[in-house]
Subunit: 150 residues, 2 copies
Amino acid sequence: MDNMTARTPNTQKRPFAPIIDRLREAGLRPTRQRLALARLLLEHGQRHITAESLHEEALREGIKVSLATVYNSLHQFTEAGLLHEVVVDPGKSYFDTNTSEHHHFYCPETGEISDIPGNAITLPELPEPPDGYRVGHVDVIIRLQKQGPN
Amino acid sequence: MDNMTARTPNTQKRPFAPIIDRLREAGLRPTRQRLALARLLLEHGQRHITAESLHEEALREGIKVSLATVYNSLHQFTEAGLLHEVVVDPGKSYFDTNTSEHHHFYCPETGEISDIPGNAITLPELPEPPDGYRVGHVDVIIRLQKQGPN
DNA sequence: GTGATTGCAAATCTTTTGCACTAAA
DNA sequence: TTTAGTGCAAAAGATTTGCAATCAC
């Protein structure tokens, strides 16, 4: 039977099915806002965002969503493993759509974050964690300074 | 001549001379508050503090100082190289009295920070920083999770 | 329908700032 | 004196929360 082209009601009506499914798998109802934010994050190719920047981007694209909902969604996505939080600046949270193992360059002067490919840093044997704890996640942050001219 | 005991006016009157000198060298007037905070930080053996915790500690010891001054002092000390800021939690600044090269364990659940001795992690060749930047400081944070019983 | 989700505004928390007052040199 | 430093309270961000309205199922 002919079920592979755009004529199929299913594809017509659910153009974002993969994202909807990812939300569902994460236990999150695919609401209008969550779906729109997830699309911005996961399809739009953007990498390092703040709640503020994602909110602005959403509004620019005509998505009606409140800043509070952006915060909630970012945390829900992070908990679901769709995002990773990058802590480089006290007083501002960055989120990374790249959840694979990798580390970051960060320039405090400009606020820019960029990825260091996972294989560009190989951590040697880690020290033993203190008793009663286990290692969760290892972050390496290389802080950069703008090079003066000359 | 006899200048090695407590009789010397100099030692009598300037029991905190080393700290005063460190402040002076940093271009900071050794005011009552700064001196008291510097003593708490540098002599008291404490390692990882927040503005809030240092303020409480100061008040407990009977040092009259405002929270704003604690913030100011912490940043001045950091700029002067007497402290190092540790960024592990968005929305809270930690300061470390250990300014030698080392990294940190951090438990988000409890907020505890502890040092990893500098030589327990050897970073291999770092990747080249992007054009126009140079490497400032490298932070390695090992995030811990409390181990469930059993 | 019913329970989860949202929006808004208010609340919270950490940190910074403005300015009159105080203290170091 | 004179200038830097301090305290207070207010301001400024960033993030969170409470609750009525709204939406997904």
